[in-house]
């Protein structure tokens, strides 16, 4: 592996600015790395569903021309990036990991993709995901699973396992993910990378193929906290094309990351969420979590325990709200205007409804069908109040718990995921066991508050990465970066370098 692919995005941006390297050189280095380690559905990391060699190199050439003319578009102009396949990209397939969108090339760019292009970042390709972002392991992709670069027999988390694995395997310095119940943060935790779910409405959802509108949010997937801040500032901010977009400037995220990296958290109040630890959490994950708390204390923070009693109901609330919204959203895949169209067998002149039914059976995978049926049930007459109505009221209680907690502390913390990466196939046909992975990440989505996951170390039992989650009040995303960068600096000092230095070399990619 070339040194280029191991460098951070901030470092690569600096190298481009000083003329030490070119965008073509570093885009090619990442394409070479993808060719060496990504493999296929059957073997290798399989982080990518589509690699756009030609488009990425053309964008890199254009970037180098701008640099040569002294007119870069942005600090990250020329730094390549990978994009989760749930975000629309003109000229590049967007499948959402589903057969129903196989080969679909969208006629428009998602706003976040348009912002990447306007800043000159070459797009390396589209990353694998659980179908329509439904899952915690990327095994529900219709195109085969992504594998964890730490151990190719294990899951990379989900739904954004492709984006997390791509940055963990040094196939891309940056990636975009989306987080509805933890799909950025949980993959970050199990791959030893950084993932941020911004404040709901802080980043545009225009062109994000919706699973659950009131929960979905686009965010950065990176190897360092500073890189996440750089990407977050680039994609964030108001978008008139998303009616839920917040019409306020973002707080200074890069500045907060740089301030945090200096290591002083004096006066900061950190609340440990009592309900998000203990039973169900792996011992090694908890041990790394405790160590991180000690480091925060050492940096001057005051660490206290706070209770958010309604959080124990967050998982159940989520698994009512989300399927309701998903079943409505996925009604648009009706075989009429785009996507797959399957004619039912043995039917002469089938009706539109028969074609819809046959197409949705053939085009959707098991987990998508489960959630559509569940949502249809919970929204049907006679059950609406008992399920959807109840869940919406508990959602209010969860938001109130956050409000009360943030009255006492500046940030809340917990382990990101209860366990390290499990084996592929282990929980594939046990939906409840799979859903438990998102126990600690879901409350933030229900309340709309921002969260970051960063590596806290390796669990003693299995030598696999664990994640540390920081949550902040809505629109206070800067606190995530300040605390995250401070903890990252303290941990890396202890480890003697980034955690990913401890990951095994991948076959095909000589170290």
């Amino acid at each position: 592996m070339s040194d280029t692919t191991r460098r951070t995005a901030a470092d690569l941006a600096e190298a481009l600015a000083t003329g030490e390297t070119t965008s073509v050189a570093l885009t090619q280095a990442h394409l070479d790395r993808i060719a060496a380690v990504d493999g296929s559905a059957e073997s290798g990391v399989h982080a990518f569903l589509h690699v756009d060699t030609e488009g990425a190199l053309a964008a890199a050439v254009a970037s180098d021309e701008r640099r040569a003319a002294g007119a870069p578009l942005h600090a990250l102009d020329g730094v390549p990036i990978a994009v989760k396949d749930v975000l629309t990209t003109t000229g590049l397939p967007t499948t959402c990991g589903s057969k129903i969108l196989e080969g679909w090339i969208p006629p428009y760019d998602a706003t976040v993709v348009a912002r990447l292009k306007a800043a000159g970042l070459p797009i390396l390709g589209k990353t694998n995901m659980d179908e329509f972002a439904m899952g915690s392991s990327t095994e529900h992709s219709a195109y085969g699973p992504t594998r964890n670069p730490w151990d190719l027999e294990r899951i990379p988390g989900g739904s954004g396992g492709g984006s997390a694995a791509a940055v963990a395997a040094f196939e891309a310095p940056l990636a975009l993910g989306t987080d509805t119940g933890g799909s950025i943060r949980q993959p970050g935790a199990v791959t030893g990378t950084v993932g941020v779910k911004p404040t709901y409405g802080g980043v545009s959802r225009y062109g994000l193929v919706a699973m659950a509108n009131s929960l979905d949010q686009v965010g950065p997937v990176t190897r360092t906290v500073l890189d996440a801040a750089l990407l977050h500032e680039l994609i964030g901010g108001h978008d008139p094309r998303d009616s839920t977009s917040i019409d306020q400037p973002l707080p200074g995220l890069v500045a907060a990351a740089r301030q945090g990296a200096a290591g002083d958290l004096t006066g900061l109040r950190v609340g440990v969420i009592r309900e998000l630890q203990g039973e169900g959490y792996q011992a090694g994950v908890l041990a790394r979590f405790q160590e991180s708390l000690e480091l925060l204390t050492k940096a001057g923070a005051e660490v206290v325990e706070v209770s958010c009693p309604s959080f124990v109901h967050a998982l159940a609330t989520y698994y009512l709200v989300m399927p309701c919204e998903a079943s409505s959203n996925l009604a648009k895949f009706d075989a009429m205007r785009y996507g797959l169209r399957v004619l039912p067998e043995g039917v002469d002149s089938p009706s539109a409804e028969e074609v819809m039914r046959a197409t949705r059976d053939a085009g959707f995978g098991d987990e998508v069908k489960r959630r559509i049926i569940l949502g249809t049930y919970a929204l049907s007459s006679g059950y609406y109040d008992a399920y959807y109505g109840t869940a919406q009221r508990v959602r209010t209680l969860i938001s109130r718990d956050f409000e009360a907690a943030f009255g006492q502390v500046d940030v809340l913390v917990s382990p990101t995921a209860p366990t390290t990466a499990f084996k592929l196939g282990e929980k594939l046909d046990d939906p409840l066991a799979m859903y438990l992975n998102d126990l600690a990440t879901i409350p933030a989505n229900l309340a709309g508050v921002p969260g970051i996951s960063l590596p806290s170390g390796l669990a003693d039992e299995d030598g696999l990465p664990a994640g540390f989650q920081v949550l902040a009040p809505a629109m206070a995303d800067d606190r995530l970066y300040r605390v995250g960068a401070a903890l990252e600096a303290a941990l890396e000092e202890r480890w003697g370098g980034p955690l990913l230095d401890k990951a095994p070399a991948l076959e095909g990619g000589s170290k």
């Binding site: 090339i105 969208p106 006629p107 709901y200 009131s214 008139p240 009616s243 839920t244 917040i246 309604s310 109901h313 159940a316 609330t317 698994y319 009512l320 079943s327 009604a331 075989a335 009429m336 785009y338 996507g339 004619l343 039912p344 002149s349 089938p350 009706s351 539109a352 028969e354 074609v355 039914r357 046959a358 949705r360 059976d361 098991d366 069908k369 489960r370 559509i372 049926i373 569940l374 249809t376 049930y377 049907s380 008992a386 109505g389 109840t390 869940a391 919406q392 009221r393 508990v394 959602r395 209010t396 209680l397 938001s399 939906p431 409840l432 229900l446 309340a447 709309g448 508050v449 809505a474």
Partner: protein, 99 residues
């Protein structure tokens, strides 16, 4: 909260416009029951005085000036259609023979 029967799943699949095979119905019905049982725990958590939250941020209607914005051409909109005719989406028949 009630258990969900195989017949009920078949009915829901009809409402959701998904043809499920017998094998899928056999597989899904017990899984959905388990999921429903686990989410039933929240039924008594919030009293009727707690207002519902449908959205995490307070939202009011968002308007823009009623001026023409750039949009897709007919060709772009139809480019990925399963079937198109005369600048329109071509779809299977919508009405039955008797209608």
């Amino acid at each position: 909260m009630p258990e969900i029967s195989r017949d009920e799943v078949a009915h829901l699949a009809t409402l959701a416009r998904i043809d499920l095979s017998d094998a899928e119905l056999d597989h899904l019905a017990p899984q959905l029951s388990v999921i429903l049982e686990s989410v039933a725990s929240i039924s008594e958590v919030a009293g009727p005085d707690v207002p519902p939250t449908s959205h995490p941020m307070p939202l009011t209607n968002v308007f823009r000036e009623d001026v023409v914005q750039p949009s897709l051409t007919a060709e772009q909109a139809l480019a990925m259609a399963p079937q198109a005719e005369e600048q329109r989406f071509a779809v299977p028949r919508i009405l039955g023979d008797e209608q």
